[in-house]
Amino acid sequence: MNNLYRQRLSSHLKEMFKYLRLVFNDHFVFALLIFIGGLGYAYSNGLKELQPNLWWAKPVIVIVLLLVLQLGRFATLFQDADVVFLLPKEAEVRQYLSGARTYSESLAVVYELFGMFVLLPFIQVTDAMPVFELALIAVAQLLLKDSLFSLAIVRRFQVKSAWLKESVWFKWVVPLIILVASVYGMPMVGTLLALVLAVCLRVADKRYNAVPFDWWQAITLENNRMMGVYRFFNLFTNVPMLKGVAKRRRYLDWLLNIVKITPKNTYLYLYSRGIVRSGEFSGLYSRLTILGMVLLYFVRGTWLPVALAALFLYLIGFQLIPFYWQFDDIVFTHLYPVEEKQRVNSFRRLMFSLIGITAVLFLVMVCVANQDLTVGLVAFAVELIEVVLMVQYYLPLRLRKKK
């Protein structure tokens, strides 16, 4: 079982690196460097303006530590089929989990230390703590993270006691108390409490040895975790594994009912429901639209907002194109006696509505931010041309190319 985890870890890492390579392509690395540089610069500038003994400094430290504590999840790498194939190996599942814990916890330690490293200058400026106390807080933080992992393991067994399973208590309330103690002048007490907690949970975890393993729960939790990872990668690239659960979203039915039920609209009917109810593309669309709107609110000038709006509009349209093939693995999509041309037209109408809405929202944002008629008119003209070009020429071209 130990070997099994090692095998899975190596193929998991391979997969993650594959995606990371796609995420950190040349352009993005460049943008990221600028972004981090800017952020660091702003941070150091901000620090210069702070004085010691600000009233809000300590709460901020506690909250940041509490948030950082939640980083780094328990990667068990369980798969759906395990409930069948590993069931007879249940006695050895402990070994497997300890392998998982070693990996997950070492990664988490890196996150915690990095978080504290970033926070350190802020603590130094606002609250001249002695190094010894800082070290104690760091130790408490790591012990708390260790407790969370023990708890994560316990939660994957068929434990009856509700309070152990209840995540709010151990994930938020208890750490909050301990961190408050540590930051507000009692680092010894805080660290000691964290130590007691960590030891107790490790003992408790061992005591649950006799309890049957909860395969469904463990697999569901792991699937959720991987979903989160894929969703993150999906912001930058296409993730084929991402198959979200459809949500009914009844409150949007009025929007869907605009589509008339006629044979011509067969695919528009399907596409519109697909985009509204699946998390994947609608999430992408709304995230990028909101991000674009926020950026446009802060950007002033004549050409910059216009260029930015045009760029985001293109990006959104571009990202939506693969949705055309979303239903291709469903055999009926190939069996319907509907012409490909109608499908393309349906998709164009969908695309037109989506980027049309975005274009209008962007235009409103540009006008609000700049309060200038010329800029508004230019933005309107550029967006209009872009939408028409995309829907009329670019989209059919792309769809044909892929065929």
């Binding site: 039920i261 067969t266 009917y269 697909g274 509204v276 006696p337 012409e339």
Partner: protein, 245 residues
């Protein structure tokens, strides 16, 4: 003649799975496609519904090939897959609407039929649910309802009996009978031989990508006189003989 498969050679890659398969399904006839796992039943079906293109040979539905008239050809097929396949994002009602739109059906008439079918299969109170979350048997029923509202002249049904409850099996067989009476043809692949024996008009016994025998039950008995009486006996003796070769 509804379906005519002539000397079809085909498969998924370069290597042919089907070797000159020839058979037909007449109007108002239920033909059972019988064969072991891997005999080529699904491959045959995939060729008929147009997911695969034959390397050689020809498939005609009422005289039309897929290449002559894509939509005219597709319009004539109602397909029920072995594993139910559903749109994650569509409710049961929307699956039916999709089918009506795609096959250009008259909505009022189609809904009348749909409501009748839904009540037979006890799905009429689940119209607003996502069938993707149903149990296998219920998903299968959704597939059946979608297929039977199309008024297609040819039904292709891939292993319909697994996962359905006994009541639903009977209802399905009744529906097939109704369609046959209206002149539609049905090609059904199955492993459930005693049901097939009772209900199919003719059998196509597929083995290793070739049609071993074909005909009504008396014809099969005549072709293999020592095999026994039931379809099961005949089928077993045929496969056994093949393994000894």
């Amino acid at each position: 003649m509804t379906l005519q498969v002539t000397k079809v050679v085909g498969g998924y890659s370069q290597i042919p799975v089907l070797k000159e398969v020839t058979f037909d399904v007449q109007d108002g006839e239920l033909v059972g496609l019988i064969g072991l796992n891997g005999a080529g039943k699904s491959t045959t079906i995939n060729h008929i519904i147009g997911l695969l293109t034959p390397f050689k040979g020809e498939i005609k539905i009422n005289g039309l090939t897929l290449n002559e008239d894509k939509n005219g050809y597709k319009k004539q097929i109602a397909y029920i897959p072995e594993t139910p396949i559903l749109y994650q994002e569509l409710t049961l009602k929307e699956h039916l609407e999709m089918t009506m739109m795609a096959y250009s059906l008259d909505r009022d008439k189609a809904w009348q039929k749909a409501n009748h079918l839904l009540s037979i299969f006890r799905l009429d109170n689940k119209l607003d649910w996502f069938p993707a979350n149903f149990s296998k048997g219920m998903k299968q029923k959704v597939m059946i309802v979608c297929a039977f509202i199309t008024e297609a002249p040819l039904f292709i049904i891939d292993e319909p009996f697994l996962g359905l409850d006994p009541l639903a099996v009977h209802d399905l067989l009744n529906l097939i009978d109704e369609q046959k009476a209206k002149g539609a043809s049905v090609l059904m692949s199955t492993h459930v031989l005693d049901t097939a024996e009772k209900y199919c008009d003719r059998f196509v016994l597929l083995h290793d990508g070739t049609v071993k025998t074909e005909g009504t039950l008396p014809e099969l008995r005549q072709a293999l006189p020592d095999a026994g009486e039931s379809l099961d006996d005949i089928y077993m003796s045929m496969t056994r003989a093949d393994q000894h070769e």
